[in-house]
């Protein structure tokens, strides 16, 4: 050990050698803890998971919240009736608060029951009857508080009542009550509330019977009530307005009525949009003065989940703590083959959740986050491009292994291919690159071959992705592995894997399209295409240059039309973009959620839908309409294969890649299995706080010698400086002083 290391501080008592650092020691509390520990002493050794948020969540209302950074919170607090099995793949729905996953009952126009295999055309409605488990209770909340007579303590509060209230913790009384089916119905009604602005109202309005009309009715009623109250916000009692598509059957049963067949509703029933909201809580937060104090349901989620949000300071920290009223739920005792060997069933049968508290701190930059992860102050971390080489080594076959430094720290790596796709799209209504003629098709296929996404993944994502062969990612029904799953228009099969077709082949296709050597045979002019993009930083310049070079391979000139985000969105909405980059994250693990991105009536320019390429192939659309309501099986797979083949041939997208997530875990974290669909995973996590405390202490001993050295040097420099100072006291002034010029 070097001499430097020999005077490492121990970070313990306020001993003499560190007298010069008295202030720092005092700040550290002269405690047993490392000086750089950012957490309070009271949390030392506690069963707490530490995480972060980069930007504050916009909405925590389950009817509004849709972003990944919001679901991190709402997913732990709210409990919809269903959830995804933590371990089973493909993703499987299991009951959460429901007794069972409901099976739909089909009805014809006259309300008569139809058999389960009734043709789509005959099915007028699907009815889902959901039975909720009794005995589930909400977290403590003031809205549930009742006095000795059973009346609500905090009902219809006035602004004066809130004079000294700044957070929910300022209310003296709290209470709870049992979860009932009516709470789920109330939340479905809230999707149509004019002030809630639920992002799924438009979509659900197509399916839930009467929801669209209900939204119009509520808008009208709300407008009247608001006008009567002087134009401000008012509480709208939704229980007074029935909705045909959602009704309470009994205390623990409710029914959702859907127009026609919509089997994907079950997936929506695993999202917070369909979680229960108690009417009294909504009423409580609608009291005058609450909104001015940020005490809204949009900021204070109230649920039956394993955790409750106890600190909600989106400016600094958000804290989830164990819900004392959480119902019985146990770690799954079954999973996929290999899960047991991976240690994933070690907690089978144990009661959930394992963690007492989860602290999310505001961390806006990746570098401090990464450094704090290495110091043990965060339990898990993604890997940014800046730190990728520190953490991971990519093997020749693209396999990722941890660096020795990570291994020494006991860090482990879990990877998973995302249920998402990042692609380059062609605007199919563009006169040059769009259209369904052979010429345009061959042009798009040629470009698809030339754009080397393997290289893109290697350069710009550090190898974190797999080239896409079609719209459906691995892990979703309809995705085909191996040679049969390869896109034959872009890849061949050689050496046991897909191999991108040659540039010569791309040039041949280009020539057949009438653009031999990048020149339009009709006009004799060079082919110029436009990439519409919104880009800013230096890393974007490299990406854009890469794109330019890919097109240059075919002698096609690529013009980068870089605009700000808003103008780019305008172009996409108006169908004025030509080539663009886009992506999609699955809402649910069903091929319909990817293939609808190519469904004609979903076109962005004409129908304001999610089909950004404005692809419209009648045959594809016909097959999609058949496929979307089918159960998974060989017949559905056959339709999907035909659709995917049509799309590959028409090439409205260069299929791009499916991103791969890399997550690092410290040694004190229990084994976890990436589950990209579930949003309530915190309850399955477990840590060893003792090991964490020991390793943190070991890794973070303060190193004092450089500081002492710097102080010593300063003191040493002070001696000659003082001597020099004294000498100059009575010396003649410098020449410049006499001249009067500085």
């Amino acid at each position: 050990m070097s001499s430097a290391a020999s005077i490492r501080g121990k970070g313990r008592a306020c001993s003499a050698p560190r007298a010069v650092l008295l202030v720092a020691a005092a700040l550290a509390g002269c405690s047993e803890r490392p000086w750089n520990d950012p957490y309070p002493a009271s949390d030392a050794g506690a069963n707490i998971v530490y995480s972060s948020f980069e930007e504050r969540p916009k909405h925590l209302d389950p009817a509004r919240s849709y972003s990944a950074n919001e679901v991190v919170f709402t997913g732990q607090v709210y409990e919809p009736p269903l959830q995804y099995h933590y371990l089973k793949r493909p993703y499987t729905l299991t009951p959460l608060t429901a007794e069972a996953v409901p099976t739909p009952q089909y009805l014809d126009r006259g309300g008569r029951t139809l058999p389960a295999d009734a043709p789509d055309a005959e099915v007028a409605y699907s009815v889902y009857e959901i039975h909720i488990r009794p005995g589930i209770h909400y977290q403590p909340h003031p809205a549930f508080a009742r006095d000795a007579d059973g009346n609500p303590v905090y009902r219809d509060l006035s602004s004066q009542d809130l004079a000294n209230i700044y957070s929910l913790g300022d209310f003296t009384h709290t209470g709870s009550r049992e979860l009932v089916a009516a709470d789920y119905v109330y939340q479905i009604k809230r999707l149509a509330h004019p002030r809630v602005h639920s992002p799924i109202l438009g979509l659900m309005g197509e399916y839930i019977a009467g929801l669209r009309d209900y939204a119009a009715e509520l808008a009208s009623v709300y407008g009247e009530q608001s006008a009567a109250a002087g134009g401000g916000p008012v509480y709208l009692d939704l229980e007074r307005y029935p909705l045909a598509g959602a009704e309470t059957v009994d205390r623990y049963t409710y029914r959702i009525k859907v127009n026609g067949k919509y089997p994907q509703l079950l997936y929506w029933l695993a999202m917070p949009f369909f979680a229960p909201v108690p009417p009294e809580v909504d009423r409580f937060h609608s009291a005058p003065g609450m909104e001015e104090k940020n005490l809204t349901l949009d900021w204070y989620p109230v649920g039956t989940g394993p955790y409750m949000l106890t600190v909600n300071n989106p400016n600094r920290q958000m804290v989830l703590e164990r819900n004392p009223n959480f119902h019985e739920e146990f770690y799954p005792d079954d999973g996929d083959p290999g899960d047991r060997e991976a240690g994933l069933l070690g907690d089978a049968g144990r009661r959930l959740p394992f963690i007492d508290k989860v602290v999310f701190s505001l961390e806006k930059e990746t570098i401090p986050y990464w450094n704090k992860f290495l110091q043990g102050y965060y339990d898990t971390s993604g890997i940014s491009s800046d730190s990728f080489d520190q953490a991971v080594r990519m093997g020749p076959g693209g396999e990722a292994t941890l660096t020795d430094r990570m291994k020494e720290k006991g860090i482990s790596l879990r990877t998973a291919v995302g249920t998402s796709i990042s692609y380059t799209g062609f605007n199919m209504i563009d006169p040059v690159i769009g259209g369904y003629g052979e010429r345009q098709r061959l042009l798009r296929q040629a470009i698809s071959i030339a754009l080397d996404y393997e290289e893109f993944i290697s350069i710009f994502t550090n190898g974190r992705g797999i080239p896409a062969q079609g719209p459906i990612p691995p892990g979703i029904f309809g995705h085909v592995e191996g040679e049969p799953g390869v896109n034959p228009y872009v890849y061949g099969w050689a050496g046991g894997g897909p191999r991108r077709r040659s540039l010569d082949e791309a040039r041949r296709l280009l020539a057949e399209a009438g653009y031999a050597d990048g020149v339009d045979a009709g006009t004799g002019k060079p082919l110029v295409l436009n990439l519409d993009i919104t880009a800013g930083g230096p890393e974007d310049n490299a990406r854009l240059e890469w794109f330019r070079k890919q097109f240059e391979k075919l002698n096609i000139q690529l013009v980068i039309r870089n605009t700000d985000y808003n103008r780019f969105q305008d172009k996409m909405r108006n169908g004025n973009a030509q080539i663009f980059m886009w992506g999609w994250n699955a809402d649910y693990p069903d091929p319909e959620n990817f293939l609808f991105l190519l469904y004609g009536p979903n076109g962005k320019a004409r129908h304001n839908g999610e089909n950004a390429a404005n692809y419209a192939n009648p045959e594809f659309d016909r097959l999609f309409e058949q496929m979307r309501t089918m159960a998974d099986g060989p017949r559905r797979q056959e339709l999907i294969d035909r659709m995917v083949d049509l799309a590959r041939r028409d090439a409205p997208w260069i299929w791009g890649f499916h991103p791969k997530s890399f997550v690092l875990y410290h040694a004190w974290s229990s084994p976890t299995k990436p589950n990209l669909m579930a949003n309530n995973l915190l309850k399955y996590r477990r840590i060893d706080p003792g090991l964490r405390a020991r390793l943190r202490d070991e890794w973070n001993q303060p190193i004092l010698w450089p500081l002492l050295l710097a102080i010593g040097l300063l003191l040493a420099a002070a001696v000659p400086a003082t001597i020099s100072l004294l000498r100059r006291q009575y010396r003649a002034p410098a020449a410049g002083d006499r001249a009067g010029t500085p």
């Binding site: 700040l27 916009k58 600094r316 808003n566 100072l725 410098a734 006499r738 009067g740």
Partner: protein, 325 residues
Amino acid sequence: MLNYILRRALYALPILVGVNVITFVLFFVVNTPDDMARMQLGMKHVTPEAVEQWKQERGYDKPVIYNGASAGMGKLTDTIFYDKSLRLFVFDFGASDAGRDIGYDIRQRMWASLALAIPVFIIGLLTNITVALLIAFFRATYFDIIAVVTLVVLMSISGLFYIIAGQYLVGKLLHLVPISGYDDGLNAVKFVILPVLIGVIGGIGSGSRWYRSIFLEEIGKDYVRTARAKGLPESAVLFRHVLKNALIPILTGAVVVLPLLFMGSLIMESFFGIPGLGSYTIDAINTQDFAVVRSMVFLGSVLYILGLMLTDISYTLVDPRVRLN
């Protein structure tokens, strides 16, 4: 002086109106109310009806500055500008486009900004004056040349470099303080030590060089020669005479930024996870939250005008020859 302050306060009104108009025009050139609505409503499944409803609810369905469809004064008052601006003049910032009370957030966040900005300001000022005096004392020596070169190097380095290097060295390698984070009250001290240190070091280059110039200019004046002729030692000349007279430009330069300390530091707050007003403004720009942007621009304008007024007043305090008329 009271008359002067009142007059300046009245002059400030048209300036604030002008700043508001410019903010409005600039913001709405880049972001239309439709863009703002889409940003707030999210990217998936947003219908045109939802966009219209959002705009109507927040008053963004009106013309921005001029409403040709209204009659009389309504052409000016029935606009987004009028609706959103008038309340600002009584410091009623209203709710952000995301629905949070802006005044509450400002009150919460300004303490974090001040916890960082005040120590940086005071320690930085004292350090810069000390360094500049020391260099002025050793003027026209090798020490002076080396010091000036060092200052130029220091001021040429990006602020971001100081932050990353400081976090790496002090937080990551030496483990002396947390790399980032924040806490309330006295617990905040351990989090602000490093950013304050970096803020001070980052400001030494430009600050000390400027103050050195001021000191050298004073040193060449007649009263300094007189002081020396009286036989005063050099330290007495510097501290008793030069420093006192040089304080006029130093003080006025410092006072003008005093109110702006509330506004926080954009990069520093972001890198150290300090929830101040600087990061609040940046977040609002990124999320196109116009309500927050206009509030922060307005607040910044008011504080800047206040700073200029304080500067004028401070002139009278440090230089008896100056009178405010």
